[in-house]
Symmetry: C2
Subunit: 417 residues, 2 copies
């Protein structure tokens, strides 16, 4: 069988599973999740053994320590996966929810009802926990999920996929409701993107290589791409608050998309604020790359180049820019931000109002850290990631964001005049 035929056969199975899954009740879905949580716990040793293979392969290949760290599972991480499966089980089922309903003058009753999207393909890179987290979320939202994990985690993913399929079967469900495509051939992504009749949505979680691979996709794509996040410290900022927020936004987890990459500081408070935040950042190992005005204050900061303003470092590096006005800050963010998360620190209500109105990002913060852009922190109880798309879903994606809707219109013989 050719690779294309193999992939299309899997997708055909997924489509059948999707139609069935859309119609089953919450209890049955949750039963499968309970089985999966139990299986993850009882198979911890097996998962770890498979993961050791992946980790050994990555180390032998000389992959970066941060990469190997993301790939590595521990008993604690597996326990966390099992717990998160149970937590998704406990979340309300979005399917069947009435979003809105109204009655027309002609007596028609229109109800807008949440339904699954259908077949959702999730393409992701090294972290094997995504196999379970994303699979389970898509499934709970009633979608057949086609998982395409990175080749680095192939052994781990194969075991996890087997456990998911077994849990589905144990709950008398179609195991194709969560399909893992194990074939590591890069051509798989090129096949997936050419079949809009087979896949309703592709959610890619990854870097620029994945973005490029999906260019021209005939299947709609809901990108989870880069986060170039800014914090603007206004002239009216409480500087102690600004210091805490900026430090948290940069240093609490520099490798994630909601971490701050560029700090924008109003000129009026720059001389006062920059030395203290710089000292704290440096103590945490942050490399500072500053524009000329900031370097006039932070003489030993490296000079920022044009590339720095558009960089997603995902690392302990911070670009610093001094501006003369909130207008300049807003304009700078519009030009260089990725529209994921941007913050202002200010005690000036008018400045806060302007910033939240004029900055067009998925999440706009006033006096808080950009690090809160996260499904759990938003109270969604789960997330498949952060959408950098403007359509369908924007920002943290939970269960609702993995659904669509239909209208059910009930009459008693109405015809259109």
């Amino acid at each position: 069988m050719s690779l294309e035929a193999e992939v299309l056969a899997s997708l055909a199975d997924a489509r059948i599973a999707a139609r069935r899954l859309a119609l089953i009740g919450t209890d049955l879905k949750n039963r499968a999740l309970d089985h999966l949580a139990a299986a993850l716990r009882s198979s911890t040793d097996r998962i770890l053994a498979a993961n050791h293979e992946d980790v050994a392969r990555a180390q032998a290949a000389g992959d970066a320590p941060a990469f190997v760290e993301r790939l590595t599972l521990t008993p604690k991480r597996i326990a966390a996966m099992a717990l998160s499966v149970e937590e998704v089980g406990a979340l309300p089922d979005p399917v069947g929810e009435t979003i809105a309903h109204w009655r027309r003058p002609n007596g028609l009753v229109i109800r807008q009802v949440r339904v699954p999207i259908g077949v959702v393909a999730i393409i992701y890179e090294s972290r094997p926990n995504v196999t379970v987290d994303a699979g389970v979320l898509g499934f709970k939202a009633g979608n057949a999920v086609v998982l395409r994990g990175g080749r680095e985690a192939l052994s781990t993913n194969a075991v996890l996929a087997e456990l998911i399929a077994a849990a589905l079967v144990k709950a008398d469900l179609d195991p194709h409701a969560v399909t893992f495509i194990g074939n590591p051939d890069r051509a798989v992504i090129q096949i997936l993107k050419r079949h809009p009749e087979a896949i309703d949505l592709i959610i890619p979680r990854g870097g620029n290589a994945l973005k490029a691979a999906l260019a021209g996709s005939e299947v709609p794509v809901l990108p989870h791409f880069d986060g170039i996040c800014h914090t603007y410290v206004d002239r009216a900022a409480d500087l102690q608050m600004a210091e805490e927020i900026c430090f948290n936004a940069k240093c609490s987890r520099p490798s994630v998309c909601n971490a701050m990459e560029t700090m924008i500081v109003h000129a009026e408070i720059a001389a006062q604020f920059l030395p203290r935040i710089a000292a704290r950042m440096r103590a945490a190992g942050v490399e500072l790359r500053a524009d000329d005005r900031a370097r006039a204050i932070l003489s030993d900061a490296r000079a920022a180049t044009a590339e720095d303003w558009d960089a997603e470092y995902l690392d302990l590096i911070l670009a610093i820019k001094v501006v003369d006005s909130i207008d300049e800050a807003i304009e700078f963010i519009a030009r260089h931000g990725s529209g994921l998360a941007d913050a202002i620190v200010t005690a000036d209500a008018a400045a806060a109002e302007r910033f939240q109105h004029e900055v067009d990002s998925a999440t706009v913060y006033v006096n808080a850290s950009t690090r809160f852009t996260d499904g759990f922190e938003f109270g969604f109880g789960a997330e498949t990631g952060i959408s950098t798309n403007r359509l369908h879903a924007r920002g943290p994606m939970g269960l609702k964001e993995l659904t669509t809707y239909k209208y059910i219109v009930v009459g008693d013989g109405q015809i259109r005049k």
Copy 2:
């Protein structure tokens, strides 16, 4: 200037206009709409003169009468355009609406707020009223609209675009907020679809040629494509009601996407129902194409071929299929429908429940005509068309469906633990 440079220059202007437009108030937008309505009325003769050129060209080219009819404007149609502009003005502004808001345990207040999508390109065919209708709706939702009308209506569209631009200028707004791309070169669509950085969404309204032209678009596409709509007359149907509904669904306006193309009849009532509906359809000039079981009753109906079940006739032709069960009807619709609008006629509550639950179409009807799938009939006050997409917006598209959202998060110094 090359065609690509010309188009990109227009798109760059539209992007600037979009950023400005997103921030202006409802009053200013409505003022521009008032100016436009007045201009349409006072320029009726000029619009008609331009339209005569288009119509003469179409007639000389031997275009079909139905095509020429869609292209033709009359004083009445222009008055209706002006009225619809005022009606859009009277609709509530979706921009700035709070969709949801909540407070997190850590004190963060999260508000989900409706915002414009950005730059929306609308590609459409002959009807020149779309230039005004779609332009105005996209504008009221705060988007810069890039209009790409059919070459057949070029003279009319040029005048309408000029009136729109003048109305914007008269309201002190950026005239690029509604940009009409007049160049009739087909390559324009190929350019548009390659620039996701310049366009946030393409809404195509047209047939299969347009669908094919947009394949592989790098810009997200919200298709408004085919409607293959079914009405299933259940064994428990009130046959008088079924006759009225089917007749209305087929004959009230056969050329539109929400018209019925296939009628599915339960075998138990076929002998009773088919002769009466067939007589009525035939009297209205409808050609019947029936499967063998239906032809056993309607002996002079033409035999349906496999192609008939997947045809969007948009004409006075009806395919007829007899089934033994609601399951068979639901399965048939899943296989052959386009997911736009499907109806059941039944007095059996259980059958109605199953149909509305299991048929996965944008609009599912119980005891009503599929012809109600329309933004005005749904009470949206306007529409850009009917989305056949599963993502972002499904079914009738009004103002809300032309927006996205952002989250505004207000804190007092929160950092993430």
